[in-house]
Symmetry: C2
Subunit: 247 residues, 2 copies
């Protein structure tokens, strides 16, 4: 069951380099654990002094440097990078590089405690529910959830300000812009809705009233005031019919 995994304990720099090089060659997920320093230069720049970290190299060109804390890596490179393992000044080093924008990551190991090349395959795709797309489906299946008599006319309708989540008409024939959010919203979402409503009013030559409705589970105080100031409306709705939050 396993020649899918090759690991080394306390490899010397040459051994580490060899395992990583072969791992990359074989499209394996490569893991390293040991004392290292990290330098990054690109969109921003950073340095990180010595410490024990877990480094992961993926066959798609991703690099991750994880400390013992936090969900996010302390340093990283996105997919599409080229990783170059090397021995320099007697140390095992990984150089990682990308272009557009140019970014460089260097991980320099004082000591490698453990190195692994993990070979596998992953045919499955994630199935996720409770997203904004689900909220949209929910409304299209029952537009009255927004307002009695609401009739969707288009989704992703283009305006000079961008695409509107749901565009439609109310019972009186007014244009309605609906902006969807899967979770509680703040002022930013009001800004978005404002831009769409303004753009549509311009587009429709002021012959039609354009209403803006923000649909989300709930809204912060500041956002509610902003909505009021700008004559926009709010409807409480979650992506999941089972979850009914108080407004």
């Amino acid at each position: 069951m396993t020649d899918r995994v090759r690991t080394v304990r306390d490899p010397d720099p040459a051994q580490a380099r060899s395992l990583v090089e072969e791992g990359i060659e074989r499209d394996a997920v490569v893991t390293l654990f040991g004392r290292c320093t990290v330098e990054y230069d690109g969109r921003a720049a950073s340095t990180l002094g010595p410490g024990d970290r877990l480094v992961v190299l993926k066959p798609d060109g991703t690099a991750l440097v994880h400390t013992d804390e936090g969900q996010q890596p302390v340093n990283w490179q996105p997919p599409g990078c080229t990783h170059e393992p090397a021995v320099e000044d007697g140390q095992f080093v990984i150089f990682s590089e990308r272009t557009t924008p140019e970014e460089f990551l260097t991980v320099r190991f004082e000591h490698v405690d453990h190195a692994g090349a993990l070979d596998g395959s992953d045919p499955s795709a994630l199935d996720l529910t409770g997203t904004e797309a689900d909220l949209k489906e929910r409304i299209l299946a029952d537009p009255d959830l927004v307002e009695s008599g609401f009739e969707p006319r288009a989704t992703e309708r283009d305006t000079p300000a961008g695409a509107v989540d749901i565009y439609g008409e109310d019972a009186d024939g007014n244009a309605v812009v609906v902006e969807l959010k899967r979770r509680r919203v703040g002022p930013d979402a009001v800004g978005q809705l404002t831009r769409y409503v303004d753009a549509l009013e311009r587009d429709l030559h002021a012959e039609v009233t354009v209403r803006g409705i923000l649909v989300a589970p709930s809204v912060t105080d500041r956002a509610r005031k902003l909505l009021a100031e700008r004559g926009l409306e709010f409807v409480s709705l979650t992506p999941d019919p089972g979850t009914a939050l108080s407004e």
Copy 2:
């Protein structure tokens, strides 16, 4: 140099459970590689069919499930969760749980190819430059970069719409709101600046002219038009003096 690392190849479920339990007990970073399925339920919900993945458990309660692609984990739990290794129906399983909000993650292994408990310490902090804070410092050190005669009066000045990055006065005594962005900005930043300017105009009782200036390396077309519509201004500046982008 190494009783800091304990690893097992092809552990049976009981061995995997034992190593993970001891690893958690010792505040180690635990890694697992093998064929597994993943279920998540919480703010949203997801299922993931069988595939080979790398699972990382951190002593702070973080869990990460990484496939062979992408910078982001396919599933995860944030810091503060409790991880419970178990053997169920002859399979090694990790249950992870958090509260506020309640979220559950279950990783069920068909086979574990490799398991490791990695013990280390990390005393170093990341030193990062090229951030919005650096851009702010740059301007405070030389306010003329925004405009000749500009005089900062406060940073993070509070308004009913939130805190303004830099608040000051121009050579004519007009109030100036400066919104900083470390990189090229889109319509969202204009919305932000708009909210601050509107709030300040209200606050200052329309006795003073309030100018809004967006400072960033560059701006998208749509954002530029929005700025023009709303009588706001743009100044091109990067966080790093060395990097001078064309507007």
